[in-house]
Amino acid sequence: MEFFDIFLLEAIVNGLLLGGLLALLALGLNLVFGVIDVIWICYAEIIMVSMYGIWWLHSVQGAPLWLAFVFGVAVAALLGAALHHFIVRPVLTAEPINQLLVTGGVLFFLQAAATVVFGIEFRNIGIQLPGVSVGELYLSMSRLIAFGVALASIVATYLFLTRTYIGTAIRAISQDREIMPLMGVNASRIYLLTSALGGALAGLAGCLLVLQYDIHPAIGLSFGPIAFLICVLGGLGNLVGGFLAAFLFAQFISVGGFVFHLEWGYVLAFVFFIVMMFWKPQGLFARRQ
């Protein structure tokens, strides 16, 4: 088969690596939705803030990279908790669509805040990781790292949710938010905790993205929509569905982008998403009622 050449294989492998990263992107968003029932439209902007945090501490202040990463995750976790406490909590009982839109306002706010503080120049932490050759394949080291870390953190999150006391409480709340408070679960504390965890996962995604991409205030817009669509495709709040959908999406972007052109990969993925919505409106891996 002539068509199946080494470059196509490379595109598929790159798609697989991208899939891991996208799965991590979707994980925090899905977790927050599953537990609090709110979509953070500004999720990618939290990632952007953590990327700036890492860049600032490492490139401006000269701190070691690992410290900058810890800082980036902490900032994002704090931001997630603050977002919940100050913005989402007041509208928890309002119309669902207002909850979605209020975080849209935060999107503009964070984007503008980044512009005011850091300007519109492209920044990067100036780290160029070497490539890796596997047989005839040429892969980027930063993508491999991102893939590995993303998978590890997804497994860690899964274990946290299933094996710990707090994780069990989080899952319980997501299954029945009316009954659990009666059973003595402090719902508002669980919400705050979940938001911080969602933020921390965004921060972790920021650590991985900062290795591959330049930072600018509007960078959230380039992967935010993808993260939402993955969550919807997998069934909002369904962590396993989101995980699988991420890999499906990544293949469309990577192989579609390889066969045609980068934007067309995204267009294909989005069109695929719209068609799938009509076929399976509750997501590919809808939770059984």
Partner: protein, 325 residues
Amino acid sequence: MTTNARRIGLALLALLLVAPLLGIGAYPMHLMIMAMLWGFIYTSWALMGRLGMVSLGHGAFFGIGAYVVVMLWNHFGLPPLAGAIVAVLASAVLALLIGYPCFHFRIVGHYFALVTLALAEVVRLTIVGLRDSTGGSLGVTPAPGIPAGESASLFALQFSDRTVWFYIILVMWLLSLYVWRRVDRSMTRLALQAISEEEDAAASIGINVPRSKLGVATLSAVMTAIGGVLYAQYQLYVNPETVSGIAISLQIVFGAIAGGMFVTLGPTVGAVFLLLLSESLRILVGNQVHGLDMLIYGALLVFFIIYMPKGILGTWLEWRERRAG
């Protein structure tokens, strides 16, 4: 509406009709045109938005309106008035194509918002991807069509005199208010109101849910596309980032909500408010601090949705009613 309010309304309309003759400067004139243009677009969005169909995809229709007309004019010499018909048809077909399955399979709430969001991104990426003909992210200007020695060309739909634009857009804006009222008083609205509250109950009393929704959604999409045509021809510059995608889609939603999407003039009030806000912030803050105006803008949006979910006009009317009652 009380007779008093009606009188004030007519007086304001009369003032608006003669405004260009009063010799107001070019800048206030531009602001009024933009306020009416956005008022037109936000009103179009609110037609469906207030009935529970919150679309985050109107940037798709706006972008189609703007780009179809400019592309057909630049590449095929098709006059924009004919191009506008193509744009209207294209947006109607797209709205039906997306709307039919959405309403048929009952995609509502978050899911509907995110499906339409995907649509907005598809259109933006398609425009960027077709960069050989669209100019990609750099945007494109319609080829100049005004013959030498003249100031206007209906063939090219280009007018160097703002007064012409003022009246064109005034008429379109009034038309959108008229459409709003027609939809408001029609049977469809009652049906849709019932649907947005309880879809099953509405279906059980014999309302054809998908068809009722589809009609309003298509109307809303087509009007938004016309808004895109007007925007492109008035500004004489289009860019995929500003006429399509998630940013403009959110702006349309916020404008309508800030003003109040449940009252006729609400979206227009939202347009005036957003325009005055961004312009005054731009003048006050200046261009030294890049992004400060957007910062305040975003903060105010959050404030509005938390504390004034019915919008400026909606909240004001409610307050007045409560005082009177």
